[in-house]
Amino acid sequence: MSNMTANRQQALNAAIDRDCPICHCEMVLPTAVPACQHKFCFMCLKGVNMNHLGGCPICRGPIDDNIFRRPTQQLDIKMPVPDSPTPSTSSSTDREVKQEVDEDVKPDVDALNASMNNPPPILMYWLYHGRRQGWWRFDPRIEKDIEEAYIARMPVTEVVICGQPYVIDFSNMTQYPKNNRTHSRDVKRVDAHEFDASNVKGLAGVFKLTR
């Protein structure tokens, strides 16, 4: 095996450990099936359960329903989108700036002026109202899709959550299943300050652990 191939294989293996076998992206809220320990994003695994797809997607072993009952995780409720593929309005901008500082690059005067005239966009979060009460943050990857559609001034957009298509209606700031308009809930777009004031209960159905 040549070096190139070995390196490529290594990179592939690393990606396999990090990526969810369902969405093929870096895992958000990694969750292991208790019986077999195969890992997936929490939302992806919940989708498997909700769609009755018959057990673990890798080995078809049983999935204990209890992991979806009142899940809690030590989580960074303001976590950015992992492995964001395209630079976007949000956290990736911050990361680029930091890199420049680390590498001790001379300040690019033009770029600085440009950024003074066009300040980097403020990080925004998308929340949905829980079935009972309180606000929840969307899965950061879905949040990013919503924000992009919002910035593009689309009147509505569609997202797939747990394998179910939903519509986000920006004029009414609501979300409903695509096939059932009556099951509508409120959504809101908040900055970090308002996020803190909203007493967000968790992320995509996972409660944040409280002291």
Binding site: P21, I22, C25, R141, V160, C162, Q164
Partner: protein, 151 residues
């Protein structure tokens, strides 16, 4: 109104194009990224050798929580594929898993061409022929390959 294409579909498509499976090609339609034009070469060890079979593959909105829909466009004499090109394959139905993907589905269909299974038929007349007179069935399959499955 259209939803964004899920990253998984983008990644799968890129990999199918950059690193295709031997004997299989899958190309997304220009106007619909969920619709693929597929070609499968008949496996050498089968009565479909030398044939080039056209299929269509569609990724429903629920994909990967629901299986892709796949159909043969080329006429084929096979006990698990009916006149309309519908395929009897467990992973396309109740044995679907979201850890499977376009690549593995097409590999399974290629394998089905190598190993017809008349015990689980979709085309009952073909399956009957396959069970009672396999030599004759294989001969017909080769003839159909020559008549209908030439690129």
């Amino acid at each position: 109104m259209a939803a964004q294409l899920p990253r998984r579909i983008i990644k799968e498509t890129q990999r199918l194009l950059a690193d295709p499976v031997p004997g299989i090609s899958a190309n997304p339609d220009e106007s619909n990224a969920r619709y693929f034009h597929v070609m499968i070469a008949g496996p050498d060890d089968s009565p479909f050798a030398g044939g080039c079979f056209k299929l269509e593959l569609f990724l429903p909105e629920e994909y990967p929580m629901a299986a892709p829909k796949v159909r043969f466009m080329t006429k084929i004499y096979h006990p698990n594929i009916d006149k309309l090109g519908r395929i009897c394959l467990d992973i396309l139905k109740d044995k679907w898993s979201p850890a499977l993907q376009i690549r593995t589905v097409l590999l399974s269909i290629q394998a089905l061409l190598s190993a017809p299974n008349p015990e689980d038929p979709l085309a009952t007349d073909v399956a009957e022929q396959w069970k009672t007179n396999e030599a004759e069935a294989i001969k017909t399959a080769k003839q159909w390959t020559l008549s209908y499955a030439q690129a």
